[in-house]
Symmetry: T
Subunit: 156 residues, 12 copies
């Protein structure tokens, strides 16, 4: 059987791997939610929101890859399957059907807000256990918070 | 309320929109499954399979976007949310944890095979109703079958 | 005198070349109309509509070239002169002077709608006569319908 | 109603806007004429002339955009619709059907010559009224005259 | 032994694989013939024809790859060896030694004409059996016919 | 001490160098004002205005460099320090804090208008003294007036 | 009125926003000072110093944008106006007129040294309050110190 | 009739042109053999060998062009037709049908070995007659031997 | 004599500069070891391992430069000479001669493991003394651990 | 015989064509002189001057092409042969052999100065006769004067 | 005084440096002659010859740089001044004024032929003295002879 | 055990492989020495020398790869480990610590001189045994001698 000798002590590894798994699920769901609204948005700001959402998708896909490969690097298999994402994501339910542009912006403010709160908690919990992983969470938080600002400013 | 005047007759629209929704779910799941194995594969062919899977991800993401935007174009809101994907995908269950490279290749042969069978049925069912959508399914089938060949050849 | 031995039978050639000439006129006019509004649009969505219209221009110019060269390929000289376009285009009259952004979007919804209806008829009429030409019309229809969706969604 | 406070005095604005509208019509027509011959040329120099004409098209499209946006900048709505182009262009009639390569070159010599003569008059008439617009006409004249040389040299 | 489970029924597979093998041989030979004349052409139009032939080579190489990989995808090993090409190509004999530019253009008109006739027959025979393969043949026909036009126009 | 032998007579040099120094201060301030609003804008048009302002920044930075290096070229040291810019800029005071998108557009209309008026005066005053410098001012005016149009059209 | 719900507690937000505002002023001024000397440097090392200063400008512009947008992200409007920069910058006065190359290098050693000292203090004060902002300051410090080394080495 | 005044003496020209014609045939066949196996390889190393073979194809195509144009340069028409290649190639027969990856590597070791032996003989025979041609053969030998090493190392 | 005024206190400087010198030696040696095996690897996975090793070389060269320039930035001259590397590297002896691919992967697992252990110690020891340097070590550790995972997965 | 109908009156044409021919000779010689010193410069500033001279070469080659093609455009054959350049250039004699870096900079200051003086005279003499040509001379003067400043600043 | 210790014996150095100086003069003149005809060519093949000549200019400029820098490398100052080129070039006189396209091709055949003859002599004379320089001459000869073929083929 | 059938006779192979191993060691050491001084240089020419040294590093790394892979190609495993380089390099000892820019240039003149002398001997000894390898040494010598010229010129 395949076992990676982790550079971390067991307790640290548990802390860090739970944080990574949680972040993976949130980020994969964020990419799916942003795409869902990218396809369903309507209203005068359609084009602007449509394009802006693809930048969120790019961010979410990039970081989900980083987070999953960090888990593998530490010897813990990541889980980013649809069923797991549907069950464990920190983002609330996205309604189906067309979405007005103002509601679309509001939905992203909420989704990003939910993920950021959880990501900041991960920054706090992993600094001792593995500063390398913490550094990854800090970068992700910075990027998500910047997107968050932009959607807030649009509904400001 | 937002209503798009569809260029298709009602019965045709029903046929085509069901085919598009089904294709969307299959392709989003294919992108998630391929990423899952991309992260969890182990064995001597690790690097080769790891890279090859990202090409499947690129194909699946590109075509899921085309298919979803085609649905919107015809006036039918697409649904690519995690819960929907988990419920309706044509791909069988992917086990969690590490995957040996030979099993990884086998899993892709199965996943691609399942999606191709359903996609060929969509090519058959949509030609009358909307040749534009059919043409999209033909392109997707060509790409998926090429990936299918390559994974089969590796386990040949 | 220059005569190209066409790969098509006479009746088929007549059907196909009329369809190509009609498509050429529609597409050249679409590029001129989209530019006209690109220059004259005003209102809060100015920048978004201004940029979006140039994407329509790119699509129309690209496909007008494809369609005209397909006619030449089949041995029929295409006609894309201003006088011919003004006389035969399927797009209704564009008013001169400044255009409010909402009206600009509406004008494109109408112009694209008119061209799409005629293009779908061409898809239907050329499949027997020349599947190569039909395939070109299918690609054009797909692109035009995608633009159509986006403008509809903006006024949705 | 939308009114731009023009940086020019009324009489100057009239002079300049008429020059810009005339240049716009000439340049749009030049792009259509060059494309028409691009598609219909035949003869031993086919390939060379076919490629060269697309460079004229690029020049004409680029400068028609500059000229139209300069008019909008000065507060005057430009008019580049097919009907207007067909009515007001300074270029003579282009015959339909195939064109021998030597005749194609001659047609461009004539078309460019006609546009250059009018453009030089615009350089002369606008220097007092608006040196910014005059500078644009100078650049356009330089480019058109260079194309003119090349077609003359080919029939030299 | 290596066996691919083909998505096609046996009779359909036979039809499609013979068409693919025939297309492969024609396209490989077209690339060799075009290179042969690329190297041996002489006369005042040397440079123009020399460059144009490399565009034919690019088309032929690109599509020969597509066609061969489509055969492998369907579970049928393609055969593009020199001996097979020499025996089965649909293009007539190319003489050795220097070729005058006018003759070079004529030779390409003939070679492309022969391949197009056979390719159109393949479009007709494969539509029922496999629309994916048919779509590939349609694209190839479109490209070859465009080259055909250009060489005809040069000797027009 | 460092003295450049200027190609201009003393009186001409005085005229030209004062114009260049004035233009430098205006352009540096324009880049700072546009950035300030780029960071502080809020409202439904946030994204569109945010992006558009960076294009103004690019224009202002590019031309401030050209203008400063032109002064050095003529032997006159340019002065683009914060204190000088704060004291001598032709742009009125920008308020601090968040800016509604409509106000942001209005602020740019005013700022660009103020700079354009002064720049046109410089075009008028330098033509005799140094046509090389005048040509630079003409190019700058053309670019600034185009930005001016776009912001006016948005509030149109 | 526009209020962003900050992810930070009030006291932390005060600490962090003061640090960000201070950093913004320092970095904008650094970009202006480096440009000022870029234009006014003379002496045998002119070209080398002239080019090197533009790399400092790039660094300062990039990081001033990051810092200002971080402030907006946290709900605090940044202030980068000329007057504010002139009043609050941590960089000493830059003399006007030509600058000998050796003095230019010395001026940059001083300017960078002053900014680095303040930036290191910000790294120290923000770690508790907001690790995301601290991480940004660490990156900025690393870049500034590398420039500092290079200018020191040149006068070494 | 077309005669190029060769810079070489007659005996030298005979030596050199035979060497160039032999090299052309070997290189064209190498490109066909490598493509044949590129399409037919199966087994766990499929992807690696599939990609590696396209690099051999690139090398063979590039050098066949160089060699053929060198012959034309010296006044001798090159012959790269399928029939000539099938008759004169120095590479042994390639079997048809699927090829196991280990056999594929072995086939390339043999094919490259055969061509290298003949190419080294050409380096030896042409040094006196034409050092320019010899230099071309030396470059080709270096590239082919590097590919040879890599395939040997894979079966090592 | 050249003395840089370090931003660090003496004791901190000693800690940090020893860590940087140690990291430099490890990274230079890692680049040499990876190249050595890149040249000497044999076996069925030759191509995959050969390419993968060059990615390790790129990482090691990039970071050795960063580390050495950080030392210079702090006023401490780095030492990356062959003799120093041979004496102080933390990587065990690499045997000479050919290396089987499985052994090559194992050698990299060992080499990367040794460097990572030492790099994590440096992350721990430098956080107090200089967070800027610590941040560099964190980035390096992240990159090395990712490579480590990949080689482990290949022998998994 | 080949005669271009010039858009200029005879007297104007004489003025403009003499100016263009003079500019052509100066610019070709400038490119040769700059290359000559590029190859022969020695001294501590070797690398900096060596690179800077190639930027002068680029400017001179670009503008010599523009100027010569402008002459052809006006129907006057340009003359840029070595003998003509050697006889008519406005640049003084360049000594042969190695050149100290300080002398190299001085030589360029002189050469550029000589060409600028003559180019400014051409700006003055051609404004009436042909504003298009004048505009070209203005751009050239701007570029040459910028190079002039930089070389002066280096010896400042 | 500046003396480079040459790696060659005195007699060898004399041989090699004379060959390099001769080659430099020939190549600079070739670039000037090709440009001269590039500007003055007229006739139906204008465009084709005009473009082809710029490729000769590129070759000549590239190799003149290589040759001049090789001389400097060996310690011998190169001389590429207009006067030297006019006096020592191996290319016969180019007439002034317009050149018919057929004559233009003939002139290049002659010019290239003259340079090639002298370049081959240099290949012969330098092999003993300096194989590095000889290798450079071999590459130049290969490139020039390829251009030579193409111009010959055009008049063939 | 892995044995490559070398294309060379045993005695030739011994000659060539010793030359290749010697060249490898020299080139790896040259890359390390150039980096060492790149990091430690100080003085007014810091920036120029710092950049120039990275070009030497690029050359040395590129050619060390070519040389090592040539050895593998001939069946002889290359040895580029730190210990081997420290023991066998032809470059003298580089002192540790800061290096004044003038001394840095001198050190490179010496290091390059030492490597060139040995490389020229390898050109001489391998021509009979393997012209392919000799050609590689000739290219390397040309590049190293060009760098040598530039450093000599800087201290000239």
């Amino acid at each position: 059987m395949y076992v990676v000798k982790s550079p971390l002590a067991d307790a640290d590894l548990k802390t860090v791997s739970e944080a990574l798994q949680g972040a993976l699920v949130d980020l994969v769901d964020l990419s799916l939610v942003a795409k869902q609204i990218h396809w369903n948005v309507v209203g005068p700001r359609f084009r602007s929101v449509h394009l802006q959402l693809d930048e969120v998708v790019d961010t979410a896909r990039l970081h989900s890859d980083t987070v999953a490969e960090r888990a593998s690097t530490l010897g813990v298999p990541p889980d980013g399957r649809a069923r797991t994402v549907a069950a464990d994501s920190g983002i609330g339910t996205t309604p189906d059907g067309w979405v007005k542009d103002t509601d679309a912006v509001g939905a992203l403010v909420d989704a990003l807000g939910a993920v950021i709160t959880r990501m900041r908690a991960r920054v706090g919990s992993t600094g001792e256990a593995d500063p390398v992983t913490q550094d990854i969470f800090i970068q992700i938080t910075a990027d998500l918070e910047k997107h968050h600002w932009m959607f807030q400013a649009e509904n400001g």
